[in-house]
């Protein structure tokens, strides 16, 4: 086994053991991730029915498909690093991380993946129940279903890298919660979590595509719902790859600058 694999394996065990201590919180957070799309689904279905069955190209069963797939995509892509770094930096636990011969992002990444694996057994039955209740309609072409997997993984990678970089704002400001709030509000609208992007005004759709938001959540959902052409799908994967590269470059630069500040003003 290589060194990095060993670290990932041990970190996974550690995270798992810690999570078991907090099973109630984990349960509640997972319920939260199930309820949020469910609420949007109920609201948008009501809107569609009131408008005579359709809103902006979605009928009730298409809304069901959208938000159930959204729920699963969110499960794969969520992170909480932005909440953690302020604490780590202010309470000095980052100091220990800096003195270890491994980049701290590894720990965060395994932590994150572990939590997804742990909560998956709760998420999948929930999705099954919602499918039975809301009867979603979607039939993606085979190629779209196949591209969904890389699109989903890239979505997670982009989101993780962008949010990890934003979390580093804690090196410069003590008001990280304000940064977080601004980001989450933008993400709520622009990543398609609250409503499919196609229902938004045109200029917001453009903004969502130019910024990383669409590529972090909405894109894989649109893909699996069969709402994209091959050309759009390929362009989307390209946008994801571009954001990932740009994100990694930013991450590297911001991390170095942040650590320099940290080690200049008092770790």
């Amino acid at each position: 086994m290589t060194g990095v694999q060993d670290v990932y394996r041990q970190q996974f065990k550690t995270t798992l053991a810690s999570f078991i201590q907090y099973r109630a919180s984990i349960f509640i957070w997972t319920i939260d991730r199930i309820l949020e799309p469910l609420i949007y689904l109920v609201v948008w279905s009501a809107v569609a029915r009131a408008a005579g069955g359709r809103v902006g190209g979605f009928d009730t069963s298409q809304f069901a498909a959208y938000f159930i797939v959204m729920m699963l995509v969110t499960q794969v892509t969520y992170t909480w690093v932005m909440y953690e770094y302020e604490y780590k930096i202010r309470h000095g636990s980052l100091s220990f991380a800096l003195l270890r011969p491994i980049h701290p992002i590894h720990t965060d990444l395994v932590d994150n993946i572990s939590s997804k694996l742990i909560t998956l057994p709760l998420m999948l039955p929930a999705a099954a129940v919602l499918v039975a209740l809301f009867k979603p309609a979607f039939s993606p072409p085979l190629w779209a279903a196949a591209l969904f997997v890389p699109a989903l993984l890239l979505a997670f990678a982009v989101k993780f890298v962008v949010e990890w970089t934003l979390a580093l704002s804690a090196f410069w400001t003590t008001r990280v919660s304000a940064v977080n709030q601004a980001y989450f509000v933008a993400a709520l609208f622009l990543s398609g979590q609250m409503a499919p992007l196609s229902l938004l005004p045109h200029w917001l759709q453009v903004a969502a595509s130019l910024l990383p938001f669409r590529w972090m959540i909405s894109f894989p959902v649109e893909l699996l719902l069969g709402r994209l052409t091959v050309a759009q799908a390929v362009t989307g994967l390209g946008a994801q790859a571009a954001w990932l590269l740009l994100g990694l470059l930013l991450l590297r630069t911001v991390w170095r600058a942040g650590v320099r500040v940290y080690s200049a003003v008092g770790a």
Partner: protein
């Protein structure tokens, strides 16, 4: 710096900028427009070296710059000036080869994962430091024996007492057998028995692995038990670097003579300053260089039952050093 030094610091400096403002709403509003930044010097140019295997006590009052110096030596802080080298590495670059050979233990902070047994955190450290399985097992075995960790390793860290946790923290920090160990107040908040045990362990670790140890502590007992050599800093400047015994000599102008006489009423004021008179024993304060002569005179002149000559307690010495009362 000689290549044989484990640690070397030359004219090491660190200053911070802190924003400050007066209290009150007006000042708060004014600070929005213009922030007043003041430069605070934590370490004002100190130089010293440590040879491999040495244990050195790093002393100074709160705010003297001890922790800042330890952080510069371990690579957490970038010096504002001067040169520093630890095992031939520039610490702030935090090269992996460097990090694998050092450790920093801070008595007031924890690195162990709070909710799981220490043994699990040990496994994580094994992977992170790439410690070969057989080395890991033998080190854990040794540390378990030296620190009497046995059953503690299987309890969640949050259920351990402060002393038990500190023992586990130390073990976790030493699993990779660092050659250089920085200890910042490792015994803080611990009871006397636990302090003694931690102290004994540090001495044993140093002997067994030949590690270089730089230790800060407010408990002079730690320093007396472990360190022949001490470095004293105050206001970021080096006040003394040498043997603890020399420090006592240099910074104490007096010794105390405790005399017990057959006649408890005898007036001893002619021999020195009488500090106390208790249960028939008189304590005299005598200038250091006169101590042998005064002792001789008392023994010759008076019917003495018992007589002892003592240095003032080390706490008092250190207090004088900080107060700048050198004589």
């Amino acid at each position: 710096m000689k290549s044989s030094d484990a640690i070397s610091a030359r004219d090491l400096r660190k200053s911070f900028f802190v924003t400050e403002r007066e209290s009150g709403v007006g000042a708060a509003l004014a600070s929005l427009v213009r922030r007043r930044r003041e430069e605070v010097t934590a370490v004002a140019g100190i130089s010293f070296t440590l040879k491999p295997g040495e244990i050195v006590g790093f002393l100074g009052p709160n705010g003297a710059g001890k922790t800042t110096t330890l952080k510069m030596l371990s690579g957490l802080l970038h010096p504002s000036g001067g040169e520093v080298s630890v095992l031939g590495h520039v610490p702030w670059k935090r090269e992996k080869a460097f990090l694998r050979q050092i450790t920093l233990v801070m008595g007031q902070r924890n690195q162990l994962v709070w909710d799981i047994p220490a043994a699990d955190s040990f496994e994580l450290n094994r992977a992170i430091y790439r410690i070969p399985g057989s080395d890991f097992r033998s080190t854990v075995g040794e540390l378990t024996e030296l620190l009497e960790l046995g059953p503690l390793l299987r309890k969640p860290v949050r259920n351990l007492s402060l002393g038990e946790r500190m023992k586990c923290e130390l073990a976790a920090a030493l699993l990779h057998r660092p050659q250089v160990v920085f200890l910042d107040e490792p015994t803080i908040g611990l009871d006397v028995t636990m302090q003694r045990r931690i102290r004994g362990f540090i001495a044993q670790y140093n002997q067994r692995f030949g590690a270089t140890v730089l230790l800060t502590s407010h408990y002079m007992a730690d320093v007396e038990a472990l360190c022949r050599r001490v470095i004293v800093i105050h206001h970021g400047r080096l006040l003394f670097d040498g043997e603890l015994a020399t420090l006592v000599d240099r910074f104490t102008a007096h010794k105390t003579i405790v005399v017990k006489l057959e006649d408890e009423q005898t007036d001893l004021r002619a021999y020195g300053e009488v500090i106390s008179r208790q249960e028939g024993a008189v304590t005299l304060r005598v200038p250091r260089e006169q101590t042998p002569r005064v002792t001789g005179r008392i023994l010759a002149d008076l019917p003495v039952i018992d007589l002892t000559v003592e240095d003032p307690p080390i706490e008092e010495v250190i207090e004088r050093v900080f107060a700048g009362e050198a004589s």
